[in-house]
């Protein structure tokens, strides 16, 4: 098939397995985010795609051909490193033109291409500056431009925005996504920030302990997480135990939830429900009663922590949606069945 395919990729360092039988198939032109906690093997996976690390077993296919034995410098890819790795002895223009210089392009060609790319990253006229004189955001762009100088087939970025401050990071996320869409280039970004992944990706690949846990579009990852780890890692969630009673009704925290079913044969499961799906109301009826322990009013949203049956449930709402509740108050919690995701526990 066309695109990039990872087939049973495993990487061990000594007897430590950093990446464990990773399988993934990415069509051309997709923006992929490798997402997971620190140390879960994201960088190692990216480095194997780049050829900087050899897989212990498995194969990497690009458009059907096995590129596993191809050395990095023949893979035609662009990579942005976490440290950016701009060459300190070269100017901005020479950094960007370096891949062209390697291929023996003339001085004029190099200049033309680097000017073109500088325009693309909104830094025209920066060609003759030393890289040491640039700000963090500018270096970031230069590293991106250098990686794109030869219009590579694959664009790999390892936590490219982690060194930037929050505001700039959000702006760069949007910019990076727009750039990728304009160029239609297959892109892999490593990140541990789920918000960043949600902003940019066509396909989010959630990793944990060296394994790929789920690979799906962002909204599917959010709405239909494959397991409790993914549900917990992507955004805030309430993970609750569900039990099935003799009559076949499913109950959570001792309260039967009408319309909720769990797979046949199971008597126990976990239920994940997003905080914005939790309704708070008055005590009584079908609602689970609980005590408000803390209210975090962030202005735009209000997070309410409700303790019930030894568990804390978080509910998020906009100020308009909810009348004031205060810590210590008794409330009724409703968990709509259609918002509950049943996970194997």
């Amino acid at each position: 098939m066309s695109g990039l395919v990872l087939k049973d990729i495993t990487k061990s360092f000594g007897n430590f397995t950093a990446v464990d039988t990773a399988n993934l198939s990415v069509p051309h032109g997709k923006f992929v985010c490798l997402l997971g906690p620190s140390g879960c093997g994201k960088t190692t996976l990216l480095r194997m795609i780049a050829g900087l690390e050899d897989p212990s077993s498995g194969a990497i296919l690009l458009d059907g051909t096995d590129i596993t034995p191809v050395p990095t410098h023949k893979r035609n890819l662009g990579m942005v490193f976490q440290s950016l790795a701009l060459f300190p002895h070269l100017t901005v223009g020479d950094n960007i033109a370096y891949p062209l210089r390697i291929r023996g392009a003339s001085r004029e060609e190099q200049k033309k291409r680097s000017d073109e790319l500088l325009k693309l990253i909104h830094l025209p006229g920066f060609a003759d500056r030393p890289v040491a004189k640039l700000s963090g955001g500018q270096r970031q762009r230069v590293a991106i431009a250098r990686a794109l100088a030869l219009s590579p087939k694959l664009f790999l970025l390892d936590e490219p925005l982690s060194a930037l401050d929050a505001k700039l990071r959000e702006a760069m996320q949007v910019e990076l996504r727009q750039l990728q869409q304009r160029l239609g280039i297959t892109t892999f970004v490593v990140t541990h920030d789920q918000r960043e992944a949600m902003t940019m990706a066509d396909l989010v690949v959630v990793m944990g302990n060296g394994k790929i846990l789920q690979a799906a579009p962002p909204i599917d990852i959010y709405r239909k997480p494959a397991d409790a780890f993914v549900a917990d890692f992507i955004g805030m969630t309430n993970l609750l135990d569900a039990e099935v009673d003799r009559a076949g009704r499913v109950s959570v925290l001792g309260q039967a939830i009408a319309g909720l079913t769990i797979p046949e044969g199971l008597t126990k499961a976990s239920v994940s429900i997003r905080p914005e799906d939790v309704h708070l109301g008055s005590v009584g009826g079908d609602a689970i009663s609980g005590t408000v322990t803390f209210v975090r009013d962030l202005g735009g949203t209000i997070e309410t922590f409700v303790e019930t049956g030894g568990k804390t449930i978080i509910a998020v709402a906009t100020p308009r949606e909810r009348p004031d509740v205060k810590a210590g108050q008794q409330v009724g919690v409703t968990l709509p069945a259609q918002s509950c995701v049943v996970l194997k526990s």
Binding site: T72, H73, G78, F81, P99, I102, R103
Partner: protein
């Protein structure tokens, strides 16, 4: 942050100790040497204070000019050989596991503990016809019969490179360890083969370190006076050998001092020139 100019004498106090050291160990001996270089030699005794240029005048001959030239060329060659060998070696060393690095560095340090005399005689034995390495080459069929490799220019060069190499490696090591390995990887992802990436990225990124190391080895080699005598012919003797000869065996202190001053000036000029060229290239 604004720096305030030092006001009282106490503000200068941190400078006292280094200043004193500099005076005691550098200014005083060097001034004495300069002074002595203008003194008159007293054949029956040592020297008498005077102010004559005869010591310098005697130096301005073809013979001493040739010796000076040879000394400088030899030192430059030693410096270049050392850096050319040590740079890739040290680079590869930094890529090994920590344990391996430590073992190598300890071995190198132990080579430093060898005196110049031991190094000289070890190499002169290795280069003899009867017991030298050429017997090994004969044994593995590389040569027809053993030959003597010493005394010769190449023997001198080998001995001096051997002596200076551990210093070179130990000076280069910290800079190469600190070098960001992703620079090289970045070059590779951009299409450079590993060797090309090394030449394009590692070497220029460490230019200043390389220049500083070249100068250090150059100065170090300039002072070597035993190895040329042990491993070379009289035509391979350096100015340092002649200075030793004049100072110790001929008891001609003023002339030895004049030569030493001249050697220092020449090497300072060469070092200055190197730095100047480096600065110019940097500005480009």
């Amino acid at each position: 942050m604004k720096r305030e100019a030092p006001k009282s004498l106490a503000d200068y106090s941190p400078l006292f100790f280094p200043g004193l050291m500099l005076i005691v160990f550098f200014v005083v001996p060097f001034s004495t040497m300069i002074a002595v270089s203008f003194f008159q030699r007293d054949p029956s005794g040592f020297y008498t204070p005077d102010f004559v240029f005869s010591n310098y005048a005697r130096f301005l001959s073809l013979f001493f000019g040739k010796v000076l030239g040879f000394s400088l060329v030899l030192a430059v060659m030693v410096a270049i050989c050392c850096v050319v060998i040590a740079f890739p070696f040290t680079y590869l060393l930094t890529k090994r596991p920590r344990k391996v690095q430590t073992i190598w560095l300890v071995c190198l340090l132990s080579v430093l503990s060898l005196s110049e005399v031991i190094i000289g005689f070890a190499w002169s034995t290795l280069f003899t016809r009867t017991a030298g390495i050429t017997n090994l080459f004969v044994a593995i069929g590389l040569m027809k019969e053993p030959v003597a490799l010493t005394p010769s220019f190449w023997a001198v060069l080998t001995g001096m490179v051997y002596q200076a190499l551990p210093y070179t490696i130990l000076v280069l090591y910290p800079a190469l360890v600190r070098l960001d390995p992703t620079l090289l990887e970045a070059a590779r992802t951009l299409g450079a083969s590993p060797v090309r990436a090394f030449m394009n990225v590692v070497v220029p990124a460490l230019r200043n370190t390389i220049v500083a190391t070249l100068i250090m080895v150059f100065v170090f080699a300039l002072g070597s006076y035993l190895l040329p005598q042990i491993l070379g012919r009289p035509s391979h003797w350096t100015l340092s050998v002649l200075i030793t000869d004049q100072a110790i065996y001929q008891s001609n202190m003023p002339f030895a001092a004049a030569m030493a001053v001249f050697l220092v000036l020449m090497s300072l000029a060469l070092v200055g020139l190197t730095l100047l060229v480096g600065r110019k290239e940097n500005a480009l």
